[in-house]
Amino acid sequence: MSAILPLRLSGAEARRRGKRLVGPVDLTLNSPGATVVIGPNGAGKTTLLRLMHGTERLAGGEISWARPLAEVRHEIAFVFQTPVVLRRSVLDNIAYPLRLRGQSRKNARAEALDWAGRVGLGGMPDRQATVLSGGERQKLALARALITRPEVLFLDEPTAALDGRSTREIETILTEASIAGTRLILSTHDMGQARRLATEVVFLLHGRVHETAAALAFFDAPGTPEAAAFLRGDIIE
């Protein structure tokens, strides 16, 4: 099976009621690595991720993958800023994508149990997912996204609701997934996390890509005064 990357955006735009939320964005994402999208609140990080994933309608420009979209859809996954859990047990939540792909209940649940363990939910496989805490929901969403071994995984602030320890656990899982070949594209407000995970940084401002650079170079010496101010924690207008 050939790779779905690179993902190319040219002049891509997202609009709501005639107002442009994001774009025009020109961006190319190659394998391998982790792209971290950063920027102030409302800059358009969520919208950009959804646009690339295909859940936000493309209002202008083009987005293309190396393979047809119908095939790509089965190779990508998305973890939302606020995770959605199904009204089922933890195990059945994690097993759900495999069930959709036609796997038997027994096999799907066996694999789900393995993944529950990896994200630290191994002790509560039969608990109703709706009673989980925010952090546990986030871990569940991650396991549910990774169980299909997607080629590309989008994560919108995957650790926003988590304490330091859970954050590190999730980052370890993400690093492992990355090593195993999953391309990560995530947004975050945690600059420590951005430094730990990123191989490439996209700095968004007012819906546009203000700067994009290799991670080391970016954190060492950002190319624009706005990015420098953002990294210092200053308020940028």
């Binding site: 859940t55 089965h74 939302f80 959605v84 199904l86 009204r87 109703q128």
Partner: protein, 222 residues
């Protein structure tokens, strides 16, 4: 005393009530639940109209339903050749028409709420229309059970429509409600009341049984 002497006939009538209603309930569920799920997940052109019609049909007087079914099934009617009039089959048809809108409306409400919760996730997972509906129906099953119970209650207590299309024929189409109506008309209140108690007992038993079932399931999961 009364109940014991009438045992044979009473049992026959009660069982017929149950058989007719449960059959109607199963058929109505098979129509109403997928319909409700479809209305929840799909934005097709006639969606609003279908919902409006369902809601209007909920307040349809059963006697009118009975009348319409009667006309359709009567010898000169479009489906007269089936010979269904004055059989349990005709009663089942009338009950199905009466409870489908009720079950579909109640089910649609809970499925719609669940869909707004699940929407982003299921879209992102690229699920097919059928998978969407199946997921919603499964995860909302407890609420759907309530919808089905409402349908059961409505159907087992129905008298107007099934009196017209069934004809309340002894050993053929007489059920608890039509028997009660008959005995009351004849002035045999004691018998009518006894039948009434049986009817209530039946409805309550079914309700309790189903609630007990769901409770054990819930406890097993939590």
């Amino acid at each position: 005393m009364l109940l014991i002497t009438l045992d044979g006939d009473l049992l026959e009538i009660a069982l017929r009530s149950l058989r007719v209603t449960l059959t109607a309930l199963v058929i109505a569920g098979l129509i109403a639940l997928p319909l409700a799920a479809l209305l929840a997940v799909r934005r097709f052109r006639w969606r609003r109209a279908v919902i409006a019609i369902l809601n209007a049909m909920m307040s349809l007087p059963p006697v009118v339903v009975g009348l319409v079914v009667y006309v359709i099934l009567s010898r000169s009617g479009p489906l007269g050749a089936l010979g269904l009039l004055f059989t349990p089959g005709a009663m089942i048809i009338a009950q199905v028409i009466i409870i489908v809108p009720l079950i579909a409306s109640i089910a649609h409400q809970s499925l719609r709420d669940l869909w707004s919760e699940y929407h982003d996730l299921l879209i992102s997972m690229n699920v097919t229309q059928t998978q969407k509906m199946a997921t919603l129906l499964w995860d909302a099953r407890r609420a759907l059970l309530t919808a089905m119970l409402a349908g059961f209650g409505r159907a087992i207590g129905e008298v107007g429509a099934i009196m017209i299309v069934g004809g309340n024929i002894e050993h053929a189409t007489r059920v608890l409600t039509t028997a009660i109506a008959l005995e009351t008309g004849k002035g045999d209140f004691a018998l009518a009341l006894a039948l009434g108690f049986v009817l209530i007992a039946l409805a309550v038993t079914i309700n309790f049984a189903i609630h007990a079932l769901t409770r054990t399931e819930r406890e097993a999961r939590w």
